[in-house]
Structure formats: structure tokens, C-alpha cells
């Protein structure tokens, strides 16, 4: 698709949601000259959003939000891989604890996203995310699909889970409590590190040189 104006406005729509938060830009030495931005915010260690094109045929977008490990908050991941005829997507609000064991966490953050998870089950092309490693770190309410683009409106329809999950996440941040004690902080730290590691590895597996290492490190 040589005419890049036909790509979905991934970054613009995500940035609109992020504008609800007071953002402070970081990592400018790594993001300069790239379609990549990183920020910090109250209770948030890092928000990153980036996009790139691979040739004329593929438009990739990634957005992540990682909380400070001292807060009892999930994390947010959005992957967007757009081609002329289909869009492969993944969006998740993933736990930073074992959400089988920590039931209050599951109820507050995952079960409250469940209505969105159910709503987007009707999205054409809904499917478990294909990568086995990534599915391992996904929550019980992740949405993934390979959406066939049968008409142009489908591009915006495929964006909706990303913006709606992100909007819910931003609501969580507002009243997020501090993590309860050093053991919980340690658990959150361990989990965030494991999730970041898996996604870094995935981007390398999936796109090879399509993503510069600096870009991957800013995003995850």
C-alpha cells in the first residue's frame, strides 16, 4: 500500500487517549528522529508509543504503559501490524501479579475489562495470538485478531479495542493504590521484567531488523 495516508491513524488515536494524562517526555536521546515517543507520568514508570513502516506494505504500531513497581497496577500493551488486506492486533491489560492468587487484583483490573473483552469477541478474525511465548504473558482478557480488511471502515473498527482498553487503563491509574509491602513490590518488579523480556524477544523474532534495538528498549 504505497499511499501511506491510507494507513489507520494508530498513533494519533492512541495519543488522543494518552493526552488525558500529564505526560513528561523522556529518553529524547533515543527517540530523536524516530516516530517514537516515551514519557513518564504520575504512578507510571514509562509510556511509550512508536510506529514504523516496513517497506510500503506494512505499518507497525506499538504502545506500552508500565507502572512504577511501587503501585498496584496492571500494565498495558498494544501491538498493531497493518497490511493492505489484514490487520494483526493484540491489546492487553496484563497483570503485574499472579492474578489467580491475587484475586482482588483480578477483580479490580481484569474483570472490569471483561465487558470490553466480550464486546470485541465479535470482531471479525478474532483468534488467540499466534505466538506461543506472547500468549504465556497475556492476561485472561487480552484481545487478539487477524482482521480481514474487507472495507476501509474495518481499519478504525480494529483500532477500537486499543483505544478502549487504553482508556480503561488510564482510569485505573487515577486511583491506583501503592503496592502493599516489599513482597508485593518484589513480585510486581519480577513480573514486569518477565513480561518486558518476552515482548522484546517477540519483536525480534517477529520483525528481525524491522525494529532497531534502541526502539525495542524504549517500547519495552
Amino acid at each position: 500500500m504505497a499511499d501511506s495516508s491510507r494507513w489507520a491513524p494508530y498513533r494519533e488515536k492512541m495519543q488522543e487517549q494518552l493526552s488525558q494524562i500529564q505526560l513528561r517526555e523522556i529518553h529524547q536521546e533515543l527517540t530523536a528522529g524516530k516516530n517514537l515517543k516515551a514519557y513518564t507520568a504520575d504512578k507510571i514508570a514509562k509510556i511509550a508509543i512508536g510506529e514504523c513502516c516496513i517497506g510500503d506494505s506494512r505499518h507497525i504500531g506499538v504502545c506500552t504503559v508500565f507502572p512504577l513497581e511501587t503501585y498496584w497496577l496492571p500494565l498495558y500493551v498494544s501491538l498493531w501490524d497493518e497490511q493492505e488486506k489484514e490487520i494483526t492486533l493484540l491489546v492487553d491489560v496484563a497483570p503485574t501479579v499472579d492474578s489467580l492468587i491475587d484475586e482482588p487484583f483480578r477483580i479490580k483490573y481484569l474483570e472490569s475489562i471483561q465487558p470490553l473483552w466480550e464486546k470485541f469477541a465479535s470482531l471479525p478474525g478474532i483468534v488467540p495470538f499466534e505466538d506461543d511465548g506472547v500468549r504465556r504473558v497475556c492476561s485472561i482478557i487480552y484481545t487478539a485478531a487477524v482482521v480481514p480488511i474487507e472495507r476501509e471502515g474495518m481499519r478504525l473498527a480494529a483500532l477500537a479495542p486499543h483505544t478502549e482498553y487504553l482508556n480503561s487503563y488510564i482510569e485505573f491509574v487515577k486511583d491506583a493504590p501503592a503496592a502493599d509491602g516489599e513482597a508485593k513490590v518484589k513480585e510486581i518488579r519480577r513480573k514486569i521484567a518477565a513480561v518486558k523480556s518476552e515482548y522484546r524477544s517477540y519483536l525480534q523474532r517477529a520483525y528481525g531488523g524491522g525494529f532497531h534495538e534502541d526502539m525495542i528498549n524504549v517500547l519495552f
Binding site: D98, S99, L100, I101, E103, R106, L110, E111, Q114, E118, A121, L123, P124, G125, I126, V127, P128, D132, G133, R135, R136, V137, C138, I140, I141, P148, R190, K191, A194, V195, E198
Partner: protein, 255 residues
Amino acid sequence: MARVDYKDMIKFTEEAIVKSKLLEGLDLVPLETYDGMDTRSAWEFKTPMASGFYKPYTLKGSTKIEKITYGELHYMRRAIYSTINFTASDDYDLPVFSVEFDESATRIGATVDFMPLVDLSLHPEYQEKYLSPLADLWRKYRTIPGLTKEGRCLVQRRYGPWAWARETMSPFSLDGRIEEPEDRIKIIDAIIGYARVWLDLLKKAEPVKDPVYKQEMLNRKKVMQKVYRDRDPGGEVIKKIFGDEKHHLFVSIIF
């Protein structure tokens, strides 16, 4: 959508266990006592509303197995709720092989999985060792009509209303609803395939040595067993038919 009469429903144990010779070569010994309960009243039961059996076993001369259970509950000649559960003993971290196979006139609701005993995001090596052998089977059988419908693959959504149950599932669970009579039997092949992988893993299993890891694993295992025994909606039916005491016994040997 075609309906299936009770008399034509799949004979689950016959198909999944007997004809497949799934447990052939294993020296099974009836497990008469489980968690301090006498299990014998579960081996065969009959009431005006329900009949069936849950047969729990262990392996003669082996410390690897907590229980190998299979069973069927026939409800008012309208539905058959069948199950398999393979659980390793506490010294081993093998995932729990769990099958629910609920057939009614209109459909089968099935779940087949290796439920992991650790948080997989923290233990990628666990997935590699115990779950990755399922990858090809998962990709093959998730296309069964019903699990995939109109270009949408709906596995891992059967437990939609029960978030706690989805928390126990692996990235390779197969679950969903299969309606057409000719498609129903296909999930039996998936169950047998998964079971054979588990039994192969059992042969190679070594006891867990790291005490910290073992504690983490056992903690998750006990939470998992407790939530199923306390909350499984099928358990409510069992409670109504058989009362609290037998309910506790039945769900304990099923989960």
C-alpha cells in the same frame, strides 16, 4: 442445528479411555481414600435424577501420581457430564491434565487442557518443558467447527463468565461448544492426543528439588484445586442431587 438423543450421545469413557487403550500398560490401583475421604461411593452411583461413576486411581508402586480419575454423570437422560483428571503428586510439577466433556441434545461443551502449576510468565522454561509439546495438537484441533466459527477462533472463551477458571488455563487450552453431531466426536481425538502427551511427560518426570520453587508451585496448585472445588458451576448441580458431603467427595476427585 441437529439435536442428538440421549441414546445417541457419545459414550465418553468407551471412546476416550477404552477404545483408545489410553491407560493400557499403567498398573492402576483404585484410590480408596482421597483427602481423608472414602471414595467408594463415587465409583458407582444412582439416584432418581442421576447415575454414573467417578473412578479414581493411583499407580501401583509409583509416587508420581496423586490421582487419575475419569467418570460420567448422566443427568435425567438429558445430558452426560464426563470428565478426566490426571494430577501428579506434590513432589512433581506436572500440569494438571483436565477434561470436561458435557453433552446435551444441542451441543457439547468441552475443555481440554494442561493447567500449569506455576505462573508461566515467570517460568518460560515450564512452558517449554510441559506445554510446548501440545503446540501442534492445539493448532490442529482448534479448527474443529464450533471452536472455530465463521473465521473466528473462539478457543479460550468457553469459561467467559468464570474469570477464576480462565486464570487456571494454559496458552494451549482447547475449549468451546460443538453443535453438529458429526463434529462432536472430533474433540475426542484431541483429548486422547493431549492425554498421551501427558502420560509421556509423566514417564520422564523428576521430583522437584528446589524448595522455594516447590512452595510456589504447591501454593498455586492448592489455590487452583480449591477454587474449582468451591466454585465450579457443575458442582452446584452435584450438590443439589447428592448433598454436601458427596459433593465434596465428587469435586475433590474430579478436580
